[in-house]
């Protein structure tokens, strides 16, 4: 019996080892690829600077679509901040998704809104009913449109904004995100520069702005968050965007452009019918559907990422909210992978079918499951005395150090290329959070992911869940 158990133990150990090594190889490859991508991006940006774009005439027009739901506390200031984005051909559409608070009244009062004749509303993508469309009577807000509609969820609200947009490109974000002033100027760069491949989606890195100084809706001073949980998420975001997404972008393997900040050609969005309102992983699902659409059209395409942080958000500051968020992300992932399961190892879809989609299945979706099984494995075989504890602890230390190196390299890449977190103290805080991550943050993260899987597995209904935010402490400038 013990021999049988031992041989089982060895076999399972090998499986875990191979999985771990494969994951490590992907990470290592990601570091190399992203280093190349960031370096090239930096060199290229010298030939197409923000200053060149801001003065150009034939550049594509852009609409920023921001859905808002019950954001009365901050809506006026947030809209003001979004209005101030610097781009010559810029429109802003804020979609009030059936808020139950006083958001609309505040907007009407502050921006002197008047309804426009909407007898004939052309809605290529069906959405919940539009109650009214507003434009400002003040000349300085002429690029602002507010749509008041019945509640239909975030995706539905964005779809509504896409319907009303008249520009070539649409940038989707959230009303409570802080978008960098020159974000659009940087986001259109790939659209201007790409030759034979059409850019179907472009994402920008998202940063964590908890406890930072915000003035008039503009990030004045970025600070490392005070608490460990958001600080760890700073490192997590840096790692995900700078290493993960830039690396995948280098081989045109990006399957996800973050819903909080993504730009798309409007025509392509209309062709695929906009965001899917039946999933909570709508950003991933849209990106995959756009890719599939282009594959079917047999057109060359590209999904790209801008390494610079162009959008700032507030991440969960308590463990319960954090668990809810990761639970939702996992459910979204499940739904999307299930919906597009025909892609799995399907050579008709090229690299997407053979490499990128399977990677998501095995490593993005599979990682928490493997981790969970790993814990059961340790408990079970530890109980039966089959684990060589001194070696296991040493192995754990080695893996832990590898993780530390990986996070440190990500932080190094970040401070090497961007201006944020430039003091030694800030860097030390980030590194410390990264080194504590496996003991505090990661177990909670896995718990959240498993919770999401459990809900899907047993058909427990759950929506977006409420994401309570502390809210940015903002100062209002003298001019406002």
């Amino acid at each position: 019996m013990t021999d049988l158990l031992y041989s089982f133990y060895v076999k399972i150990s090998w499986l875990f080892f191979v999985y771990g090594m494969l994951l490590l190889s992907f990470y290592f490859l990601g570091v190399v690829l992203s280093a190349m991508a960031v370096k090239r991006n930096k060199r290229r940006s010298r030939f197409l600077q923000v200053k060149d774009i801001v003065s150009a005439t034939d550049i594509p027009s852009v609409t920023l679509v921001a859905p808002a739901f019950n954001e009365g506390r901050t809506i006026v200031e947030n809209v003001k901040s979004l209005l101030s984005i610097q781009y010559p051909f810029y429109e802003l559409i804020v979609v009030n998704d059936g808020s139950k608070d006083n958001s609309m009244d505040l907007l009407i009062e502050k921006y002197k809104l008047k309804t426009i004749d909407s007898t004939f509303i052309v809605q290529p993508i069906p959405t919940a009913m539009v109650r009214a469309v507003y434009k400002s009577t003040e000349i300085q807000y002429k690029h602002l449109t507010i749509i008041d509609k019945n509640n239909g969820g975030r995706s539905d609200a964005i779809n509504c904004g896409i319907n009303f947009a008249t520009t070539e490109l649409v940038l989707c974000t959230d009303a409570d995100c802080i978008v960098e002033q020159d974000a659009i100027l940087k986001m259109v760069r790939p659209y201007l520069e790409e030759g034979d491949r059409e850019i179907i989606a472009c994402g920008g890195a998202i940063g964590v702005a908890n406890d930072s100084e915000i003035k008039s809706g503009v990030l004045k001073k970025l600070k490392v968050p005070k608490d460990l949980l958001p600080t760890t998420q700073v490192v997590e975001y840096i790692r995900a965007f700078l290493i993960g997404r830039m690396g995948w972008g280098e081989v045109n393997g990006l399957m996800l452009v973050s819903g909080a900040f993504g730009m798309y050609p409007r025509t392509r969005l209309l062709e695929v019918g906009g965001f899917n309102i039946n999933t909570v992983g709508e950003d991933l699902e849209l990106c995959i559907r756009l890719r599939v659409h282009m594959e079917k059209l047999k057109k060359k395409y590209k999904v790209v990422y801008i390494p610079e942080t162009l959008c700032w958000t507030e991440v969960p500051h308590t463990y319960s909210i954090f668990v809810k968020q990761r639970d939702r992300w996992t459910r979204g992932l499940w739904e999307t992978l299930k919906l597009h399961r025909y892609l799995f190892m399907n050579p008709r879809y090229g690299k997407m079918g053979m490499i990128f989609f399977p990677y998501w299945c095995f490593f993005e979706f599979g990682a928490p499951i493997v981790e969970f099984l790993g814990i059961i494995f340790i408990i079970f075989f530890g109980y039966h005395g089959l684990i060589d504890w001194p070696s296991a602890i040493l192995l754990f230390t080695a893996v832990y150090l590898l993780g530390c190196i990986f996070s440190s390299v990500a932080v190094f890449f970040y401070i090497l290329n961007f201006r944020h977190y430039s003091s030694a103290r800030e860097v030390a805080e980030l590194l410390l959070a990264a080194y504590l991550e496996p003991f505090i943050f990661h177990p909670v993260l896995v718990f959240g992911q498993l919770k999401g899987l459990y809900k899907k597995l047993f058909g427990i209904k759950s929506g977006w869940g409420t994401m309570t935010r502390k809210g940015f402490s903002t100062e209002t400038s003298a001019s406002s």
């Binding site: 030939f47 005439t57 034939d58 201007l192 030759g195 440190s408």
Partner: protein, 351 residues
């Protein structure tokens, strides 16, 4: 086993410490470098200002500028600083026109670096070469035109883009003899930049060069020509754009719709556009054209809108109905929608 793992841990620890040291050094370097660059920028701006508008009663010559810049480290022995200085020179030159521009050009030809761009042209690195070409045309060193022209089909997109822009800067309208026949395609930014440079430096159109290139079949060239027509507002050449409104390529149609939107058309041209709208295969583009037609028409062509209402596409129908509604033809819209339902009961059901 344990020995090997300990060795691995030691290696990983060593590597981690190495990353820490690199982070520390780069933080320090960045701080120092930023200060240095700020100093150069401030001095450059100050000296340029004094050179262009010397304080009353003071003479300000090239040598003052040169000395001040050298004092802050912008000297030939420090290549990175010199490169930064060149970037500042280009930046300054690109903000000014008229007398100040001429004065600056004179100043930059008198102070170092001399012939920095020429050596860059020979570099194997694309970003150095492309930068060299940019410096050549920004500093108007036309003596290198031959070397630059050679790069117009370079496999690297940035090198050939800069070379093509340089050709426009030096040759003006005559560059249209080459541009529509390049081997590789042009990105949108290349087209934008070429049109802008042409317009900024050669504001008087030479239509004969334009007409000669109409025969080109290269997609990028057709788009470029449409953009030139738009930028120069060449009303006589609008027919060239109209020809692409129902082109089979999505991108060509997109550019044509964009470019035509800044023109008012003759009655005949308007009729042609109206006829073409039915051949456009993308609904979104049809809607755009419909809005354009409405915008430039004095009175709505009821027959045309009636035809649109009967295309069978909801989006087009709604767009046409909206136009008719807002131009005071509500009755027509009512009639159309009533006619959709055979009986009053069917209509009531919908309502």
């Amino acid at each position: 086993m344990e020995g090997k793992l300990l060795l691995l841990i030691s290696i990983l620890l060593f590597f981690l410490v190495l990353v820490w040291c690199t982070i520390g050094i780069s933080l320090l370097y960045r701080k120092i470098r930023k200060k240095q660059l700020d100093r150069i920028e401030y001095t450059f701006a100050n000296e340029i200002a004094k050179y262009l508008y010397p304080p009353r009663g003071e003479e300000y010559s090239f040598i003052n500028v040169q000395r001040a810049l050298q004092a802050v480290g912008a000297k030939p022995s420090k290549k990175a600083n010199i490169q930064y200085l060149i970037d500042l020179m280009i930046r300054a030159q690109r903000t000014m026109l008229g007398e100040n521009y001429i004065k600056l050009r004179l100043l930059f030809s008198q102070i170092p670096p001399y012939r920095a761009a020429q050596s860059k042209l020979k570099s194997r690195k694309w970003y150095v070469k492309a930068r060299g070409i940019r410096e050549i045309y920004e500093m108007e060193q036309s003596q290198y035109l031959k070397d630059v022209t050679r790069e117009r089909n370079n496999p690297n997109i940035y090198v050939r883009r800069e070379a093509q822009i340089a050709m426009v800067v030096f040759l003006g309208w005559e560059s249209l003899r080459f541009l529509p026949y390049l081997k590789r395609e042009m990105t949108l930014w290349q087209q934008i930049k070429i049109v802008e440079k042409l317009f900024a430096l050669y504001p008087d159109p030479k239509i004969k060069y334009l007409k000669k290139t109409y025969a080109t079949q290269r997609p990028y060239a057709q788009e470029l020509l449409m953009r030139i027509i738009r930028k120069y507002n060449l009303f006589t050449e609008v027919d060239y754009i109209i020809g692409f409104l129902d082109h089979e390529s999505f991108d060509r149609r997109e550019t044509a719709i964009y470019c035509i939107s800044s023109f008012k058309l003759t009655g005949e041209q308007l009729q042609e556009v109206k006829a073409k709208i039915f051949n456009v295969p993308t609904i979104e583009q049809q809607v755009q054209l419909l809005k354009y037609i409405h915008q430039i028409s004095d009175t709505p062509d009821l027959e045309f809108y009636d035809a649109i209402l009967h295309t069978g596409n909801d989006i087009l129908e709604l767009s046409a109905a909206e136009i008719l509604w807002t131009s005071g033809h509500e009755k027509l819209v009512h009639e159309f929608y009533y006619s959709q339902y055979s009986t009053i009961d069917a209509l009531k059901e919908v309502i």
